[in-house]
């Protein structure tokens, strides 16, 4: 497993550390292991990404680290404090923002709700109001400051929740899918603000879970790829991309027809294959051992009666590294 630390981060002081962290969910019928022996070290000042498909264990990991959930076994420390035994002291040092939810007292105005939370965190009232106005301005929400939360769009509400997470200046901020369901512009604003917030104080740490590979590539100093509750790779986005440097990455566009993904995966020399439907066509991403595999791919496609409408060879991305490690794309359901 690749493990490289970002040179700018102070890895001598760990912001997050887990040791054989395991979480099992019990229902009446079955046991589900959401996290299995996760060992993780995130240095102070890092922006660390946790990537994985749905159900991989990302949100479970975050919930344990923010003291909402107890681990079944193992240990976790945030800012040097045990999340199980020292959770009361820890809570003033952390913050969390979850995306894709409608959190907020709809009857309150934006500024009221944010101020209220600042008081729950013990901030000086005047300083809090100043900080809230500053962050609202930076995120383009000044005009909405006196609006009731029910009147906000989901993008505005998400930005408001980001302000809630940032305003208390936590030592470690956990962002769980912060840009999910946001439009391009709002997502860009969120990413930009997160970067800016970290620049303000290099000792601040962010743990980010995301579905968006480009977001992780753009933002994160390092990422961990989680699959079925285990960390399958860890390193800088660059290092992970280098792990597929020797492969030939091909994007293949096929008109609709007989499913061929399994047949493509069965070809010798095809390291990984994923597909997504877009604009009525199937877009395959194939990782080939070398150029010599391509003719076999084309033969298989034609044999299935599919028509190739596009073929491009391109540079590897973090998504390719993810597919190689996990065996499927982020959005693809597990077989």
């Amino acid at each position: 497993m690749a493990r490289t630390h970002h040179p700018s981060s102070d890895t001598s002081r760990l912001a997050v550390e887990t040791r054989r962290l395991t979480r099992v969910y019990k229902t009446r019928r079955e046991l589900t292991t959401a996290l299995q022996d996760v060992d993780l070290e995130v240095g102070e000042g890092e922006l660390f990404g946790v990537l994985g498909p749905n159900g991989a264990g990302k949100t479970t990991l975050i919930k344990i680290l923010v003291t909402l959930l107890l681990p079944t076994s193992g240990q976790a420390f945030v800012d040097g404090l045990d999340v199980v035994t020292d959770y009361k002291r820890l809570r003033s040092r952390i913050g969390m923002v979850s995306g894709g939810e409608q959190a907020g007292y709809g009857i309150l105005k934006v500024r009221e709700q944010l101020w209220m939370f600042s008081q729950f965190y013990g901030m000086d009232s005047t300083a809090a109001r100043k900080r809230i106005d500053e962050l609202l301005e930076r995120l383009g929400l000044s005009d909405a400051a006196n609006k009731q939360i029910t009147g906000l769009s989901s993008g505005m509400r998400q930005k408001m929740n980001l302000v809630r997470g940032l305003m208390t200046d936590p030592r470690v901020l956990f962002l769980d899918e912060p840009t999910v369901a946001l439009d391009v512009s709002a997502a860009r604003d969120v990413r930009s603000e997160v970067r800016r917030w970290m620049r303000e104080d290099p000792t601040r740490t962010v743990i980010l879970t995301t579905h968006y590979m480009q977001e992780a590539d753009e933002l994160c100093d390092r990422v961990a790829i989680v699959n079925r509750g285990r960390i399958v790779a860890e390193g800088t986005p660059r290092a992970l991309k280098q792990s597929v440097d020797d492969d030939v990455i091909v994007d293949l566009q096929l008109d609709p027809g007989t499913p061929v993904l399994d047949r493509l995966r069965a070809i010798e020399g095809v390291g990984a294959a994923s597909v997504r439907e877009e604009d009525g066509v199937d877009r395959f991403s194939l990782m080939l051992a070398d150029d010599g595999v391509l003719p076999r791919v084309m033969t298989t496609v034609e044999g299935a009666g599919r028509h190739v409408s596009g073929l491009v060879r391109r540079q590897p991305t973090l998504e390719d590294a993810f597919v190689k490690l996990v065996g499927r794309s982020m959005t693809e359901e597990e077989a």
């Binding site: 959930l69 107890l70 959190a103 007292y105 309150l108 008081q119 729950f120 965190y121 013990g122």
Partner: protein
Amino acid sequence: MGVAITRQWTGYAAAVRLGWAVSSNWTRPILFIVYSVLRPVSMALILAVMYTVITGNAAATRPYLAFLIVGTAFWSFIQEGVSEFATGILEDRGRYHILKYSYMAPLGFPIFLIGRATSKLASAAASVVIVLLVGTLALHLDISPLRVDYPLLVAACLLAFVSVIAFAITLSMVLLAGRDLHGYGEIMAQFLYLFSGAIFPISVLPGPIAWLASLSPLPYWLELCRRAIMHGQAYLMFPNLSDGEVFLRLVAATAGTLLLGYVLYRMADRRARRLGYIDMEANW
């Protein structure tokens, strides 16, 4: 230390404002106040009418009317307290999806919950005064503000306040286990109604239940309220006990409630974290 207390206080004050905003948002302030007044008054009047129909308002039953009215007046405190804590915690989780953020805040979850419920407790305190006023003016109970034993009343109410809050916080945490618990706080409050000595003496309950009720601080609290306000003109549940003995029982029962509440709260809190109840998707 001083700074920490100031911070707790400002956090509590913010939670009070939140509670007020949430509980009064459905209408204009004036209508909300009218509703808050009419609710306990109508409850007391219904009981008084039932009493009058059944007893024919005979002079011999007047002590029981006093028992009923004082019990009902102070009962609203338990009703509002217990149900508001439970409603607040479940509403914040199921409706506003924000419970996890309040839970994680350094303020301390019990302080947040107390603040969130304070406006309802204050409205309950106001309704105590209103119901007693109605009892005096409309039902001709002999209540005089100049003859109330305030030290006894305040001391008993403070202990009861602590007990009710301890019970309500613990119940709220326990209720987090369910996904569909709207109204359970009120149901629990009604359940307590039967065992508190608010409308009938606990001695009329079947033996084991009467024994259980005698472990609760509520009958002693209501007894002391009646003694402090009515000076022997209300029916007494514990006629063989002096004020001091009833007060001692209230202290002991409050201590027991606090201890049990603390243990159960810790257990329920840990269970909520173990099973992921704090941010569980729940119906509202």
